[in-house]
Symmetry: C2
Subunit: 343 residues, 2 copies
């Protein structure tokens, strides 16, 4: 690979001039500029990004921490992040933690601040302490999907009102006439989906509806499948399933199919997020859509701001950690919910 100096030599100028031409910096004569440009493509020159990163003291990449790229939400989100990042000339390194905090730490230690100049965190099961450490080392961190706008996490974040999402889902089911609703929470008891479940409970409460049976499950299709079967075994009269995420909701539909129950006539199912599969399942899944693209854009732009302001470098007021709030989630009615049919 040809280097900057080779281009310079070829064009009969100094490296500085070439650099100036390439980055449209200092003033360069039109003539010289052309000679440089010619040399560049005569030699097929490409700037060495690592060298540039070193010299500039900043890397052209952002790290995106995800718990598992195999969960179809993350690729969708990653795509949105990538698009947003490219507008500021950033590449994205996707770091798969596999739900393992240690792997997460390893990535943070190695990539943050050296290969990437900022870190985007989804619900990747990371240690907050580790995140604070990388922040303290000078690499800004943004939480992409904070679930409780009212309880700031102490790190810069984009918050989505997931409690509202749960409430909308519950209200929809109630409005259709459901009273016996099984709930599937796709995380551990006090986990990341607690706010969504809370919203659902709030809706029931507001309507004076009876408490629902709840089952905690893995945030996967299989998890939702198992939970649904358990729920239905315990109470065969359930007419609807609320899941805190689309994947378990899809699993609920599969369970219904295997049990010979028709969705939505025998069992209504609703999820949260609106991943692409929700649109593509049969029947298509009713869900509460989260503005994924907007969240990604907010997260990237917040991160960029923090990078520019070298947030954290200087002692920032621990008090005012920035938080962006996305537009509210919205109910998307499809084919998996309907009025209950007594059985």
């Amino acid at each position: 690979m040809p280097t900057l100096s080779e281009v310079a030599r070829h064009a009969g100028v100094t490296p500085a001039t070439v650099s100036n031409v390439l980055r449209n910096r200092g003033r360069v004569g039109a003539q010289t500029r052309q000679r440089v440009l010619d040399a560049v493509d005569a030699l097929g020159y490409r700037p060495h990004l690592a060298a540039r990163a070193l010299a500039e003291g900043r890397a052209p990449t952002l790290a995106l921490m995800v718990s598992s790229i195999a969960n179809p939400f993350y690729p969708e989100f990653a795509l949105a992040v990538e698009r947003a990042a490219r507008t500021s000339g950033h590449f994205v390194i996707i770091c798969n933690t596999n739900e393992d905090p240690q792997t997460g730490r390893a990535y943070l230690d190695q990539i943050a601040g050296t290969l990437s100049e900022g870190v985007l965190v989804t619900n990747a099961n990371l240690d907050f302490a580790d995140l604070h450490t990388t922040e303290a080392r000078g690499t800004p961190v943004v939480l992409c999907m904070w679930e409780r706008p009212n309880e700031p996490p102490g790190l810069p974040c984009v918050a989505v009102d997931f409690r509202l999402a749960g409430e909308l889902a519950g209200a929809h089911l109630l409005a259709l006439g459901h009273r016996r609703i099984g709930a599937i929470v796709g995380s551990k008891a006090s986990g990341i989906h607690a706010a969504r479940y809370q919203g659902f409970v709030d809706a029931l409460h507001a309507a004076g509806a009876p408490k629902s049976p709840v089952k905690h499950a893995l945030d996967t299709i299989q998890g939702g499948y198992d939970a649904t079967r358990a729920l239905l075994e315990a109470d065969p009269k359930l007419t609807a399933i609320f899941a805190t995420n689309d994947l378990p909701a899809l699993g609920a539909m599969h369970a219904a199919a295997d049990l010979g129950l028709h969705v939505p006539d025998d069992l209504s199912v609703i999820g949260i997020t609106d991943i692409q599969l929700a649109r593509e399942s049969r029947p298509a899944l009713t869900t509460v859509a989260v503005p994924t693209v907007e969240v990604a854009e907010l997260a990237v732009s917040l991160l960029r701001e923090l990078i520019e302001s070298s947030y954290g470098q200087a002692g920032r007021g621990a008090a005012n950690v920035p938080m962006r709030i996305s537009s509210p989630p919205e109910l998307v009615v499809r084919a998996s919910t309907g009025a209950p049919r007594p059985r």
Copy 2:
């Protein structure tokens, strides 16, 4: 972030010694080593990967070119690639071309050889000329999923016998007694799926079965959905659908559902690849499994070899471009195929 020299100063040695300790290189006294190690974690030192890359002349990352991370096969594959790459200490940068050769070129130009020391290419709709260019610049390129082991592509690759996959699928359908089979090819006429289709045709031919109607479609659920409806409209007596990929096959099942056809009784459906969704769909999809993880591992190890041997740097014999062949695809019978039921 503390630097190497700071650690050195802190430990009362020179940068060279610290470097030696960190990389287990030259001989260092046990005592000194300990002092250095102490300094390292007293200061929370992390090596600057970009600086290291520059000094070493090699980057610790591999680029993975994919056409769309939104297609669920790629995240699965990416995960496998990442696992394999980590074993050699490489990070993976996922580059989304969005099916656009220009975007692909942009990524190659920028990342290859500067941020990453090798390129892995899936069916990303890239210009072969561009790939040869980056190869010529000294960055090894490996095609991860070449579909025709008998026709080497002129670039290092991992080949999968996709013709066989198509044949297995066709044979399975024929063995069940199907004769009127619609085929969906998830690419353009002479595109990447041609070998799969050829295998299917071979199977029909070998069995003396009549020719099948074919429809070319987008390699998506929707594409398969539309194609199936068109196919069934043209010939309502079709008893089975063969799709060259799982996604369109899934779409075929949805189309059947919407048409009130029961799968597999009224319509059998088979795909190729065995993505996770195939297992998780209802009914579960019969498919021909491609050894994804093995392919990823082969591709990464081949790429590593090329990197080590600085393949391409020196004029290599254009004749012997390396090719690895994966183990053959295998039929996985699930619930979406069965004997035809006359309608």
